[in-house]
């Protein structure tokens, strides 16, 4: 059964392909699932005023953020017929090309996971107090803003 207590969503550093692959593997025992959907947020090497982003350093108001992730999770289970849902977000430095957000939803039916995933990712971007410092190749930085 799903627990009601907020859990820690944060993961130090980048989220690796092995971690993601293993997470998929672990669901193969759950044979009531008919569809998974996955969102992977990846750090983009944006060019801003002639300088290229080489990494993002993530920090968060962790207690509030974990509570918000929990609220999003509860709302998603309420709204959609989900079997499973997992969210992992990086803290610390994640280099361009690496994964910083992994959202994984599973349901008996495909249409549900398409809708649920979009709902969850948009809620994370709007409601969760995570902050991103974009580090340029020359070690200068600027603060990222979601749009």
């Amino acid at each position: 059964m799903e627990t009601k207590k907020p859990k820690n969503v944060f993961h130090e550093g980048a989220i690796t392909s092995d971690f993601i692959g293993n997470s998929i593997y672990k669901h193969q025992t759950k044979i009531n699932i008919g569809a998974h959907n996955i969102f992977l947020g990846q750090v983009r090497a944006d060019e801003i005023d002639g300088k290229t982003v080489s990494a993002i350093e993530y920090t968060a108001y962790e207690d509030m953020a974990n509570q918000k992730f929990h609220d999003i999770r509860e709302a998603a289970f309420e709204k959609f017929d989900l079997t499973c849902m997992h969210i992992y977000h990086s803290l610390g430095t994640v280099k361009a090309g690496e994964i910083c957000l992994f959202v994984f939803v599973s349901s008996p039916r495909r249409k549900v996971v398409f809708q649920a995933l979009e709902y969850i990712v948009e809620a994370i971007k709007a409601d969760v107090p995570v902050f991103g410092k974009e580090i340029f190749e020359d070690d200068s930085h600027q603060w990222k803003v979601n749009n």
Partner: protein, 77 residues
Amino acid sequence: MLLTIKYFGLIAEVTQKSEETLEFSGKHISELLTLLYAKYEALKTKDFQVAQNQELVATDALVSGQEIALLPPFAGG
């Protein structure tokens, strides 16, 4: 009352610290902000939201909790 004020991201860069405790004798969040603007003038030009006990509050809200956080724009994902 004694408040713990937490600063994050760009705001922590302005205040040069991630948290502090302050004695506050006013009533509303707006009065607390006036106090903070006097202490950190550069805050006036920055965009942030205020959370009280981990919930976002408006500036006319009453200060009721011990933990206040100044949150710059979110950038998760």
